[in-house]
């Protein structure tokens, strides 16, 4: 299984990656999720080939409404398409990579 994941990670994304993290205030879970995501991206993406936008829905509730956020933290892969969603503290690296499809298909 590990080797399969490694193979996937080696197939780097060709397009610029835009991720949005929706969180409700800097709760321990939110902080953990953001830190986990940053680590994963640093590992699987080329430097300067990605950006992570942080959206605090307490300050911007309309954003939560528009994007149908049901639970936090939620990560949405905005670009490239297809749009993918992962919910949770992102402590399971494998789920995040596969869930967000952080490799070329």
């Amino acid at each position: 299984m590990r080797s399969v994941l490694d193979q996937l990670i080696n197939r780097r994304l060709k397009d610029y990656l835009v991720l949005e993290v929706y969180f409700a205030g800097r709760t321990p879970t939110a902080v953990q999720a953001i830190s986990n995501l940053e680590k994963i991206c640093a590992e699987v993406c080329e430097p300067n080939a990605y950006q992570i936008d942080l959206i605090n829905i307490i300050e911007n509730p309309d954003a939560a409404e528009e994007n149908g956020i049901l639970a936090t933290p939620t990560v949405i892969r905005r670009a490239p398409t297809p749009i993918r969603t992962v919910i949770g503290d992102l402590s399971d690296k494998e789920e995040v990579i596969i869930g967000l499809c952080l490799f070329s298909t």
Partner: protein, 421 residues
């Protein structure tokens, strides 16, 4: 199962409502609502879980739910919050405690903000363990269910709890149709109907005489019973005709014949109903009772009566509704119906078809309900079929004790009081 249900209660649409939907799309819900009412001030929040979303890690917060509700309520100024199919949330997330806490927070906030919250949850066998906390967190719980009896579906509603209020404890039937939800008027235990001081002629001088001179009291319940072919429909049609002639409004439920057929048939005995149908004084409704359950019937009838505001209602024959369920259920329905009509001051004429084996005894057992009871019967005598009529009882009337012969002629019922003298 009954998710949509109360969504569009009138109160909610007057002051605006926020509607959280966990299972149906806002577009579809709006579609249902548009069929019921034009004016609705409902803000939808689509909180259907994304089935493709992947969950990573054990920790999840449900604060967005709360933030979005608060946001929508602030923007719309709504005083009502509806959470539809709350149980979906428990299915979408593994950690029940997270869901419980998230919802408890919403409940608390609503109480503080003075928002009326209505949550619906599908019921399953382990419903209590599934959404357990909700039972305790809410102030009022209402249970809807549907049952099948003899192949007919009936829906019923029961108030499980209502903090700080006395409430009915029984299960009450209801129906859902084009007008939304309708409940049967609940039978009042107190009998406080006013007794009108006017009479209603039975449309036949001799019969009026037998009833004490002027017919029956207005607003009373009159039963006409007899075996088939004794002239029940004709008699009640004549009452309807004479009521129309007296300027009253009549609603006639014909459970055996279509309006057209009925009008044609009684015309053979000299009754002219068509002109009254044209003038709007007479409305004939024909419905095959077998297609609906007992409860649905009574609701539809009550609603028609309320909309039509007649002075006289005729059920011909009431026993047709009785075919629908067991005797006790039928009796309950008739009691409710009669009380409801009486409270509206409507005179009720109902006919009962007696089976031949009943030997002229009523099988409905609702004698105590009716104020006046006219009985028709057939007697075979000297190779001749003879029809007889007598007044079994009539409350508050000086009634005749005669059993009179009568004939059905082209001029209607001709009662001969002098025979058998």
């Amino acid at each position: 199962m009954f998710a949509l249900s109360f969504a569009t209660s009138q109160e909610a649409s007057r002051s605006g409502a926020v509607y959280l939907t966990f299972d149906e799309s806002p577009q579809r819900l709006q579609g249902y609502i548009d069929r019921w009412t034009q004016k609705s001030k409902i803000t939808f929040i689509d909180v259907r879980p994304d089935p493709e979303a992947v969950i990573s890690g054990r920790h999840i917060e449900l604060s967005p739910l709360f933030i979005r509700i608060e946001n929508a309520i602030k923007k719309s100024g709504a005083k009502y919050l509806i959470i539809d199919a709350i149980d979906t949330l428990f299915e979408a997330f593994e950690h029940k405690s997270t869901v419980h806490l998230g919802l408890a927070r919403v409940f608390d906030w609503c109480r503080q903000a003075g928002i009326t919250l209505l949550a619906t949850a599908g019921e399953s066998e382990n419903y209590r363990t599934g959404t357990g906390i909700l039972d305790y967190a809410c102030d009022c719980a209402i249970r809807l269910s549907q049952d099948m009896n003899d192949g007919l579906m009936s829906r019923s509603i029961r108030v499980l709890k209502n903090r700080g209020n006395g409430h009915g404890t029984n299960s009450y039937p209801y129906i859902i149709d084009a007008d939304g939800i309708s409940l049967i008027p609940i039978t009042s235990t107190q009998m406080s109907a006013k007794a009108p001081k006017k009479h209603l002629s039975m449309g036949n001088k001799t019969l009026d005489q037998m009833l004490g001179g002027k017919g029956v009291w207005r607003g009373s319940t009159v039963m006409v019973s007899g075996q088939s072919g004794t002239g029940k429909s004709l008699l009640s049609a004549r009452v309807a005709e004479s009521a129309c002639q007296a300027g009253l409004k009549v609603l006639y439920f014909s459970f055996e014949e279509s309006p057209d057929q009925f009008v044609r048939d009684v015309a053979s005995a000299g009754l002219r109903l068509r002109e009254f149908i044209k003038s709007g004084a007479l409305t004939i409704k024909s419905e095959r009772p077998v297609e609906r359950g007992l409860e649905e019937h009574i609701i539809r009838i009550s609603r028609l009566v309320e909309a039509n505001e007649p002075d006289v209602v005729v059920f011909d024959p009431i026993s047709a509704i009785g075919d629908m369920g067991n005797a006790q259920a039928f009796k309950n329905v008739v009691i409710r119906l009669c009380h409801h009509m009486k409270s509206m001051g409507v005179t009720v004429i109902m006919t009962e078809l007696l089976p031949d084996f009943a030997d002229n005894y009523s099988t409905l057992n609702i004698s105590s309900l009716v104020d006046s009871w006219v009985r028709l019967r057939r007697v075979e005598n000297d190779g001749k079929l003879c029809r007889q009529i007598y007044v079994h009882k009539s409350r508050g009337m000086k009634t005749s004790n005669r059993i009179a012969n009568f004939e059905i002629t082209t001029k209607g019922l001709e009662i001969d009081l002098n025979q058998n003298e």
